[in-house]
């Protein structure tokens, strides 16, 4: 059975199903992170001495800055992977896609070092409300990075077979996977100043 509107636009929406699907999913993600940002605000304005709780957590700003740069760079390689498919350069596509996965991995390794440094100082989610919301939000974000990496790796290697039978479908899928990846970058753009700088 053939799935309809994978490549061609649905007459009702003017979009293919993948595009509308990923955007609807991203709206639910906005609400998920939105609830946690709202929680953050309430914890912060309700705290007796937030600055003290934050100082106690001893977050590493240089490492987080490097991670911000890594994630932004991965967004560029992601969009370049899509552009390579639009130019019909499959080898370059695969290279950019694997670079995106690689940058995601670097991000997670840096995050791992940040987390272990916290645990060595006996800083856990239960230590104070700052660390509780810090681990919850950055942890959920890291899970999103892992999810995005899985999809990107799939489209870079086994999923790239689709290029031979339906190149437009692969190009669209990569665009949709990219939308998720850029969203993950976008969340980090807010997490970074909110936790580390303010």
């Amino acid at each position: 059975m053939e799935i309809p509107y994978t490549v061609e636009a649905h007459p009702e929406t003017g979009l293919n199903n993948g595009k509308i699907g990923i955007w609807l999913f991203l709206t639910s993600e906005v609400m998920l992170f939105g609830a946690l940002f709202a929680t953050f605000i309430m914890l912060r304005i309700g705290a007796e001495d937030w600055a003290h709780l934050k100082a106690e957590a001893e977050l590493n700003i240089p490492l987080a800055t490097v991670n911000t740069i890594v994630l932004i760079t991965s967004s560029v390689t992601m969009v370049m992977a899509w552009a390579s498919l639009m130019r019909k350069q499959v080898d370059r596509y695969r290279l950019f896609m694997l670079a995106t996965v690689g940058f995601g991995f670097v991000f997670l390794v840096i995050k791992y070092f940040e987390y272990t440094a916290k645990f060595e100082h006996h800083h856990y989610p239960s230590t104070n409300t700052f660390l509780a919301i810090y681990f919850t939000m950055t942890g959920l974000h890291a899970l999103h990075v892992i999810g995005g990496m899985a999809f990107n790796f799939y489209y870079a290697v086994p999923g790239a077979k689709l290029w031979r039978t339906n190149p437009q479908w692969l190009t669209d899928r990569v665009e949709h996977s990219g939308l998720f990846w850029h969203f993950v970058d976008l969340v980090w753009i807010f997490l970074f100043p909110v936790f580390y700088l303010l």
């Binding site: 929406t13 003017g14 979009l15 595009k19 509308i20 955007w23 609807l24 709206t27 906005v30 609400m31 939105g34 609830a35 940002f37 709202a38 605000i41 309430m42 304005i45 309700g46 700003i61 800055t65 911000t68 740069i69 932004i72 760079t73 967004s75 560029v76 992601m78 969009v79 370049m80 552009a83 639009m86 130019r87 019909k88 665009e175 990219g178 939308l179 850029h182 969203f183 970058d185 976008l186 753009i189 807010f190 970074f192 100043p193 909110v194 700088l197 303010l198």
Partner: protein, 112 residues
């Protein structure tokens, strides 16, 4: 491509030129995002008053987020339906974000 007489080749070439323009934009956005990241960290080390620091950091973050959304996520040129869906989401998002704060401000017992 050398066979420019073929009608299909012509469309591919026009397409490539279009993508080249996109790629130039992506590079410019990348540079802007890097500069803004350096600025936001730089501002932190200046040690401004808390209220001002929050405002500046959130403005910079919003500009960065807009650049990602408009260019990397192609929202600058998207179908109407997506705009409507996102507009609705943003309304709910801001209601979610500010309701708690507003009820807190309305409570005379709690410090604001």
């Amino acid at each position: 491509m050398s066979g420019s007489s073929h009608p299909d080749t012509h469309t591919v070439d026009t397409h490539s030129v279009d993508i080249d323009k996109h790629v130039r934009t992506y590079v410019m956005v990348f540079v802007s995002l890097m500069v803004l990241t350096v600025v936001t960290v730089g501002v932190y080390y200046i040690h401004m008053a808390p209220g001002l620091a929050i405002t500046v950091a959130l403005i910079i973050a919003s500009i960065k987020a807009s650049l990602v959304a408009c260019f990397f996520m192609h929202l600058i040129d998207e179908k109407k339906l997506i705009y409507w869906v996102l507009a609705l989401t943003m309304i709910f998002f801001f209601v979610l974000l500010f309701t708690g704060m507003m009820t807190r401000a309305a409570d005379p017992v709690l410090p604001t």
